[in-house]
């Protein structure tokens, strides 16, 4: 992308709502990008609902979104706009706000169904027309790769967790966990700090610890994504964290298990493969995931990485 220089000078603006957004802003600010934050603004639905007068509320927001931008919205510029926990029905404001901030990229994570932008495609098209790149990682910590230079720069610090584990000499016990990339909520760092002494030989306990701690509200930072089993974003985030830890320990992760199953079975129906991997307990060199969502994500990435081929008949095989 010509004329774009992500990196040290990248400026980030947060449009957020509620404690979900606050936690992430604090993690990002304290985790290495604080000097690059050009501003943050909390956009609550009440600000739109209670304007009164000629402004009838969110139902007609899409007709003239510009007029709904709050009067006290800061006059500032940024390269990357990160939208955190803003009500889905306010999403029509995002292209106007992006234009006003003169951003080049928008990161619009979805960690709750209520924050899914109502007009996702329209917003995406509008932003693209303006030359602004947009991504909707779901959940935020699933983000692991991007062709956009600003999001790629952000990914050097935050996104899908990346852990490097060192062991006590001659032992399977963890000595130290270095967080190469933290989750935006900061839960990966919190868990990493508690892992010294853990026995990686007991993969079942390690897995349970990881899932429990990921949403432990006694911790300084914890996952606040939606946990409804019908939309299990928190559980999927737990899968990603568990696999990051297993990967850091050199233990087979869910992706390794997918490849191993395919090696044994050859071309397999995707649904049959899911049955073998989702819900598989960890241990004895295998590791499954709790959610179908994580399985689908891993399979898609294996395809992008040319490790597997998914056919039009919904079968999958090793490449």
């Amino acid at each position: 992308m010509q004329g774009v220089h992500a990196g040290k000078g990248m400026r980030i603006f947060f449009l957020y709502s509620g404690p979900f957004g606050e936690q992430i802003i604090n993690t990002i600010s304290l985790g290495g990008l604080g000097d690059q934050v050009s501003g943050a603004y909390e956009l609550r639905p009440e600000q739109i609902l209670d304007q009164g007068g000629d402004n009838p509320g969110p139902d007609t927001l899409f007709e003239n979104p510009e007029q709904y931008i709050p009067a006290d919205f800061p006059e500032t510029k940024a390269d990357l706009l990160i939208v955190l926990g803003v009500h889905g029905r306010l999403s029509d404001l995002i292209p106007c706000i992006a234009r006003r901030l003169m951003v080049r990229s928008v990161l619009y994570p979805i960690d709750d169904r209520d924050t899914i932008p109502e007009a996702r495609k329209t917003i995406s098209d509008e932003l693209t027309e303006m030359g602004i790149h947009v991504e909707f990682p779901e959940p935020f910590c699933s983000l692991s790769r991007s062709r956009d230079p600003f999001i790629a720069e952000f990914l050097k610090f935050f996104g899908r967790p990346l852990l490097l584990v060192s062991f006590e000499p001659g032992s399977a016990r963890i000595n130290h966990v270095e967080v190469l990339r933290d989750t935006p909520c900061g839960s990966a760092s919190c868990i990493a700090a508690k892992l010294a002494g853990a026995d990686t030989g007991d993969q079942d306990s390690l897995t349970r610890f990881c899932y429990d701690e990921q949403h432990n509200d006694e911790a300084d930072n914890y996952c606040l994504a939606e946990m409804d089993p019908r939309y299990p974003l928190m559980q999927a985030a737990g899968d990603l964290l568990k696999d990051a830890l297993f990967g850091g320990c050199g233990i087979p992760s869910t992706k390794d298990t997918i490849l191993s199953v395919l090696q044994q079975s050859g071309e397999t129906n995707v649904e049959d493969l899911a049955v073998q991997v989702v819900g598989l307990p960890s241990g004895k060199g295998i590791s499954g995931c709790v959610t179908r969502r994580a399985f689908d994500l891993y399979l898609r990435e294996l395809e992008e990485d040319h490790r597997v081929i998914i056919t039009a008949r919904s079968t999958v095989m090793l490449k």
Binding site: G18, P19, N26, V37, D50, D217, A225
Partner: protein
């Protein structure tokens, strides 16, 4: 460096503006504001029950905003953080509570066997406590025998069971049958809730009520106690 130091709810109108400060206190994820709020109230001579009452009003505002079918104003994360802050308030105020003889009722609560989810159950327990109920929390992954034992030993007014996973719903039915077999069913009201539970399921297993969420559950528990009075 940019750090969010706290919410400025005065700039953030709610449907009931008098609650805006309380909501801000409950949604402060760092938990600083809840401690400051409780301490300043105690310093001004307020008793813990009054403080719980005020916080409860804020919690109900958040609950109403979460339930609002027209425009949901609060999300899952708001419920979690406000529940955590209520727990912080209880940790701080509980030691100062006088022994209550006029409690609104005794509730045995737990997440059923096979399910280790704690948050929803704990938020409900905290909500009940802050509304004046005595709560015996049996924890998560609670087997049928432990629920029955807790009912037999404590003679609670209400048994509350939670389940997040649909796979653990049969465990709720097992407890209902266990209560019948032990001759305890007519001695306790049963309320069930959690994401896996529906009103129809609650009816099908013979529960007395279904709690759609902690606010609705509290309302039902209050109704049970009114029936008993």
């Amino acid at each position: 460096m940019y750090v969010v130091k706290g919410r400025h709810m005065a700039d953030n109108p709610l449907r009931d503006p008098s609650l805006s400060y309380l909501v801000g206190v409950l949604l402060d994820f760092k938990g600083t504001k809840i401690r400051e709020f409780c301490q300043s109230k105690l310093d001004s001579g307020a008793d813990p029950f009054t403080i719980f009452g005020e916080l409860q009003a804020g919690l109900e505002e958040i609950g109403d905003g979460y339930e609002d079918p027209g425009f949901r104003r609060y999300f899952n994360s708001d419920l979690i953080v406000s529940g955590r802050n209520m727990k912080r308030a209880i940790e701080m105020l509980k030691p100062l509570l006088p022994p209550r003889k006029d409690g609104k009722g005794l509730v045995v609560i737990g997440t059923v066997a096979g399910d280790v989810h704690d948050i929803g159950k704990t938020i409900f327990a905290v909500t009940l406590e802050s509304a004046g109920f005595f709560v015996i929390d049996t924890g998560v992954d609670v087997p049928c025998t432990r629920f029955i034992g807790a009912v037999r030993e404590n003679s609670p007014d209400i048994l509350a069971m939670s389940s997040l996973l649909t796979t653990t719903l049969p465990a709720m039915n097992e407890v209902m049958q266990g209560l019948n077999n032990a001759g305890l069913r007519d001695k306790v009201h049963v309320i069930v809730g959690g994401h896996a539970v529906t009103e129809g399921f609650a009816r099908s297993i013979g529960a007395d009520a279904y709690g759609r969420d902690c606010i609705d559950g509290l309302r039902k528990c209050r109704e049970f106690m009114q029936e008993k009075a």
